[in-house]
Symmetry: C2
Subunit: 330 residues, 2 copies
């Protein structure tokens, strides 16, 4: 019996149960429902309270590639919500997109006695995979999929395929792609493959897809890649971008070149950045559920901390869905 | 003799010295310069290395109002850079804009034996001020100014004044203001005062400034406030917004009402969100140096950790400058 079991039975959030157990602020109604469930199940709040006092490790390490990116902020915020509700604190390590630092922090966090580690992955090297499997504490990965490790990730390939299908429906024929490094299996390889899947379905030359590669997902890189592709394929009439931020860079270059986005040329991004509804025309994009990715990852980790030994749950890999958000840019 | 002293003598960053001491990657040239300084000064790298091994507390607590906001992400990223270079890890607590949680985390972090605490402040209640002064470990505050505490903050009042002056130069006479809660001394009171300062300078009725107040700095709140002000003051020809995100909300309402931004009505924000150069017309705004705010705060804290007792430095309060970024929206 865990806090989340109590929460499910009471029809409230784990956070509410945690607040109940720790004497935090709570509506009278919720307090009554939770109390009833706690009494029925015989769940002992003392156990939870004791854990708090006995000094059992209450820290979870979180490794992020760059805390100032919007999607990383959203995932981290989801992790913080869940951990906070269970009275865990987050030991945050920002690698600043340095793969070597990723490995170093994995070691440093273990040395700092964290109970578990959540990694927001952006690369998928065999070296990293090995280091994750060698961890002495439970690990959950978000954003990437590693065989045999608990992961929460987005269905990047299907998302990119659906987006491209939608662009094809708008009659675009000469589609180009601005993508990311193939070292990143999720945003790099999977999104590129999704675009090609859709082209292949309608008999277009998927292997010949003209594409350029961003070193980082910035507006500046989007601009650079768009300029490159406009020079190589002046006849292009559709541009798919690996992220919205990259698409905003492309948008500026297309405007400057006198191409009317949404009329002469279709443009789409991935990620549903909040700015996508402010630009004109609004950017068609894919909405992921990043905060939920973070929450799910934290819940997975907390579960594996609560259930160990013979009681341990099997490795779980969760894909979260997405929504195509159509605006005026196709 | 500290790492930063060595850095100064060698003419390199503290991060470089730290990497030297910890055997991290470093150019041959820098390595040679640092080695020379270390040898000349007799600084013992063993002491630093020992500190790492002897289990001295190497964690700094960081309390943020909401990790998914852009400015918070930038400040946190600056903190991470500096702490990482000195081999400190960041124990991150996200209050989700809950003032009660701010106080709870202050206590919890101290209980978790952090060496010091950095608070990204968004309110300035006497209760919080007292709790900060009662902390058993060094504290640095960013974003707010508390008497007698080390702080790093932006000059919000002067920034808002300069922005309003610029709008007045464009001939706008009926200026309205979309602001934030006065409980936040920095973004609430100080920015509002700055706008009024500029109106007063040219003999306009500053006290009668029509204004609306956002509960949070979101596009939705910007929309709501803009609708309210358009209804109350249909003759308005200038809108100053407390943040760029709020201004994007106002922009959408102005567009929908048929007002041409940059022609019929001037619009300005504060914060230089990256989207400000993507919207049309580009948004005139104030650029703060948030990453530097975080770096400066971390450096302040690290200094007070290195120099204690009679060697302690006096309380320092630092204001960082800003830049007015003029685009087409005035």
């Amino acid at each position: 019996m865990t806090i989340s079991d109590i929460a499910k039975l009471a029809g409230v959030s784990s956070a509410a149960v945690s607040r109940y157990l720790n004497g935090g602020p709570l509506s009278e109604q919720k307090r009554a429902v939770i109390q009833a469930v706690v009494e029925q199940t015989g769940y002992s709040p003392d156990t939870a309270a004791q854990t708090l006092r006995t000094g059992k490790v209450r820290q979870v390490g979180v490794i992020v590639p760059s805390i100032s990116s919007q999607s990383v902020g959203q995932i981290t915020s989801g992790i913080a919500t869940e951990l906070g509700a269970s009275r865990y604190l987050m030991l945050l390590a920002d690698t600043e997109l340095d793969e070597q630092m990723e490995l170093e922090y994995l070691t440093a966090l273990q040395r700092n006695h964290v109970a578990g580690i959540i990694l927001l992955g952006y690369d998928s090297s065999p070296q990293l995979c090995k280091a994750l499997k060698d961890c002495r504490v439970p690990v959950v990965v978000t954003g990437q999929r590693f065989a045999d490790l608990p992961c929460v990730y987005n269905d990047d390939r299907s998302a990119a395929r659906d987006l491209t299908r939608k662009m094809l429906e708008h009659g675009r024929k000469n589609i180009v792609y601005i993508g990311g490094s193939e070292q990143d299996a999720a945003t790099g390889a999977a999104r590129r493959q999704g675009v090609q899947d859709a082209l292949r379905e309608v008999g277009l030359n998927a292997d010949g897809l003209p594409r350029a590669c961003c070193a980082v997902f910035s507006m500046e890189e989007g601009q650079r890649c768009m300029e490159e592709l406009l020079a190589r394929c002046p006849q292009l009439d559709g541009v798919i971008c690996v992220t919205d931020t990259v698409a905003f860079g492309a948008l500026q270059v297309l405007r400057a070149a006198g191409r009317r986005v949404g009329e002469d040329v279709g443009l789409a991004g991935i990620g549903d950045n909040w700015a996508s509804k402010v630009v004109q025309p609004g950017l068609t994009t894919i909405r992921f559920y990043q905060k939920q990715v973070g929450q799910e990852a934290a819940r997975m980790l907390l579960q594996s901390l609560e259930h160990t030994g013979p009681d341990a749950a099997p490795v779980r890999q969760t894909t979260l869905g997405y929504t195509l958000v159509e605006r005026g840019s196709l």
